[in-house]
């Protein structure tokens, strides 16, 4: 090093972590830096610059300091100036909200499998990203997306597992695209951790679970509705979520669009709980001329994780817009800054994540009523089971029974108030389910009227005779 140069050595003692490090003290070949004498309020003894004139400008200390506490500057040259921070070039704001779009399929009648209709619904909803992993009975959704996304300018990736699929969808959502994945029981279980991450980081995305008979591998191509509770409670910590339950190919299309709209509206993962019947069923459905779509709002500079309102949904920027986003699954304040030991921030965040959903229960809740006018008893049904249940209700009415039916199209957040009202208006509520009684327990919680479960867990579509028998005789004759 030429001796005609002189160097200034600056050591920021507030950043130096002191005697347990002292890398610089050991590294300096000229003894410029030395062990400290002063003990700070943190109990640290930071290194000190003892002999600055001896510095030869080798910068070994500067490159090794783990805390960027050392600055060597060549005083024979002009002082280094730090360019002004604030290179942000904010993206133009977009208010988000509702728009009308022409849709992707030709308007009119179409005939296809439920899984395919789901994929078409996603395309119509503006889905531009799909990541997935093969699994029966949901693979057809992935197959169709693998063809349709490249045609529509979207991105398709087959990932190495369902954990990665869910992760990639969340990543893509923050890159600004509407994203989706589809799976069935075992894959749905693998997605749980990252679904919780999406809830915590308020990441809009759609997860389709084509339910099959479980537990575990169970019966891969057979239907069941065993994932209702998992959809809400599967991820740890306890958080509100939105889940929709289609009963037809028409609804595999319509409710997929709705799932995207709700996810964008509330910045939450929305789960479409189909099953092997509605997924693999082929029937005709109708495509409207236009679709109503909701897009997330983008407000440059606005806090992306908080609002003034307790039930508010904050605007959502994307990566690469100069927002310098801090996104974390840890408890965070409205700017994404970790607050992992602050009880107030934790409570406020968890409450808002819940309230932004439950405070809008009316906007989310969707159901249909059949023969309700004179009903003394109501069947509460959902998904493919509702197809069998409606047949049974008609048979029972043929026999003079005053039975009606309420078919849930949204199941989370659970429409407890609707159930309470129908419970009050009727003498009995009957819940047929292809599980051991997941929704019937919820119905029971909200109704003062007696609630009966008609359960079937044999991997078949709900046998309509089973429900008919119960409606006519108060018991089922078939083995469950």
């Amino acid at each position: 090093m030429p001796r005609n140069k002189t160097f200034a050595v600056t050591l920021d003692q507030d950043l130096c972590k002191g005697s347990d490090c002292y890398i610089c003290v050991n590294a300096c070949p000229k003894g410029v830096l030395a062990e400290g004498e002063r003990i700070t309020s943190k109990g640290l003894r930071p290194a000190q610059v003892k002999d600055p004139d001896a510095c030869t400008g080798c910068r070994i200390c500067e490159t090794l300091c783990p805390d960027l506490a050392i600055t060597i500057s060549d005083t024979s040259q002009a002082a280094t100036t730090v360019p002004a921070v604030g290179r942000r070039q904010p993206a133009s704001p977009s208010s988000g909200g509702w728009t009308t779009s022409p849709g992707a399929l030709k308007p009119g009648p179409h005939y296809m499998m439920g899984d395919d209709a789901c994929a078409e619904g996603a395309i119509a909803a503006g889905c531009a990203f799909y990541a997935g992993y093969p699994i029966t009975p949901a693979s057809e959704i992935m197959l169709r997306m693998a063809t349709r996304l490249p045609e529509t300018g979207g991105v398709f990736v087959q990932m190495e597992d369902e954990i990665a699929s869910m992760a990639a969808v969340i990543g893509a959502s923050w890159s600004g695209l509407k994203g989706m994945t589809a799976t069935a029981g075992p894959g749905f279980s693998l997605m749980m951790e990252n679904i919780g991450y999406a809830c915590m980081t308020e990441t809009p995305c759609v997860v389709v679970d084509i339910q099959r008979a479980g537990p575990s591998t169970g019966q891969a191509s057979r239907p069941a509705s065993g994932d209702i509770m998992q959809a809400k409670w599967g991820t740890h910590g306890g958080v509100e979520i939105i889940a929709l339950v289609p009963w037809s190919v028409q609804e595999m299309y319509d409710l997929t669009i709705r799932a995207f709209n709700l996810s964008e509206r509330f910045r939450v993962p929305v789960i479409l709980l189909g099953d092997a019947i509605v997924g693999h069923l082929r029937e005709s459905f109708h495509v409207e001329e236009t679709v109503e779509l909701f897009d997330r709002a983008k407000v440059p500079g606005a806090p992306p994780f908080g609002t003034e309102e307790e039930a508010g949904v904050p605007p959502m920027p994307a990566f690469g817009q100069g927002e310098r986003l801090l996104i974390t699954g840890s408890t965070h304040n409205e700017f994404g800054i970790r607050k992992t030991a602050d009880p107030e921030v934790q409570q406020r965040l968890v409450r808002r994540l819940s309230r932004k959903i439950v405070a809008h229960l009316d906007e989310i809740t969707d159901y249909e009523l059949y023969y309700e006018d004179d009903a003394q008893r109501m069947v509460i049904a959902y998904g493919s089971t509702a197809r069998s249940a409606l047949w049974a209700v008609k048979r029972a009415r043929d026999h003079g029974e005053k039975v009606g039916m309420l078919r849930l199209k949204s199941i989370w957040p659970f429409p407890g108030e609707v159930i309470r009202q129908w419970g009050d208006a009727c003498q009995e509520l009957i819940v047929p389910e292809t599980n051991l009684g997941q929704v019937s327990q919820l119905v029971q919680q909200h109704a003062t009227t007696p609630v009966s479960l008609v359960s079937q867990t044999n991997g078949e579509i709900m046998d309509p005779r089973r429900v008919t028998d119960f409606l006519l005789d108060g018991r089922t004759k078939l083995a469950s």
Partner: protein, 256 residues
């Protein structure tokens, strides 16, 4: 440069232990970023769980996505494919990237998206209390291998190369200038790049293995750095023979 790098690229000081090897990597990384002129406004840092994952988040003044344990590479795949204009960089530890997340690493290498993955390898789980990881050398002491690790570790360079990564490198934090040059090469490379950064954990690894490794002197981290320097050698010198069992460092491009 310390002040310049702090003010240009960081939000706040790190909470790392005194002498943390990850801090030396952070220093080298920001030197590389500055030399390269990497646009932080078009860069997304994805990281998982563990000390290594804390290097970018919440410290870098760029978009950061701090995700679930082991899944950073999978999240990054979504970010990059959805917006190929972004520079997507994954920084994490050996527990995160090579142990719980090993599956995502090998598939990302196979897929060859232009992601940059830096594995800060300190040979154990630092944040959770010094447990054995997939890179802990056989025989070394951790809080879950009190008698010495009975299992064999991954060689991350071999792993990534075997999975098809077209750029693989290994550099130690004890040689920060070589490390910085490697980071520049990795960031400039137009395909998938993986770097096994030999880091150091004085708190969990150093104390447990002090006697075994012969870390001496008042500054244990300095002793560890000196020791690390002695255990590595440029791969070019070792390609023919390696009688002393040194760890090769350097860069491996797919063609070479």
């Amino acid at each position: 440069m310390g002040r310049v790098l702090r003010e240009k690229y960081t939000r706040q000081p790190t909470p790392f232990c005194p002498g943390c090897g990850h801090g030396i990597f952070l220093n080298a990384f920001l030197h590389a970023v500055d030399e390269l002129g990497l646009d932080f406004d078009k860069t997304v840092f994805v990281s998982g769980i563990g000390c290594g994952a804390w290097v970018p988040s919440p410290h870098f003044q760029a978009d950061t996505l701090h995700v679930t344990h082991g899944r950073a590479v999978a999240f990054a795949t979504g970010v990059k494919t959805a917006n190929p204009d972004l520079n997507v960089i994954v920084i994490g530890g050996d527990g995160d990237i090579a142990t719980i997340g090993g599956n995502h690493l090998i598939h990302a290498a196979r897929r060859n998206l232009p992601l940059k993955v830096f594995c800060l390898n300190n040979f154990l789980y630092g944040m959770t209390g010094g447990q054995v990881s997939a890179t802990t050398p056989q025989g070394d002491i951790t809080s879950t291998t009190r008698q010495g690790n009975p299992e064999r570790p991954f060689d991350l360079v071999d792993l990534a190369r075997g999975a098809g990564a077209p750029y693989v490198a290994r550099f130690p934090v004890s040689q920060p200038r070589k490390l910085k040059r490697g980071i520049i090469n990795a960031l400039s490379f137009d395909q998938f790049a993986f770097m096994d950064v030999l880091s150091l954990c004085p708190t969990q690894y150093g104390r447990a293995n002090r006697a075994k490794r012969g870390y001496e002197g008042p500054s244990m981290i300095w002793s560890m750095l000196e020791h690390q320097k002695g255990t590595v050698a440029p791969r070019e010198k070792l390609d023919s023979e390696n009688p002393e069992g040194k760890i090769p460092i350097g860069e491996w491009y797919a063609e070479s």
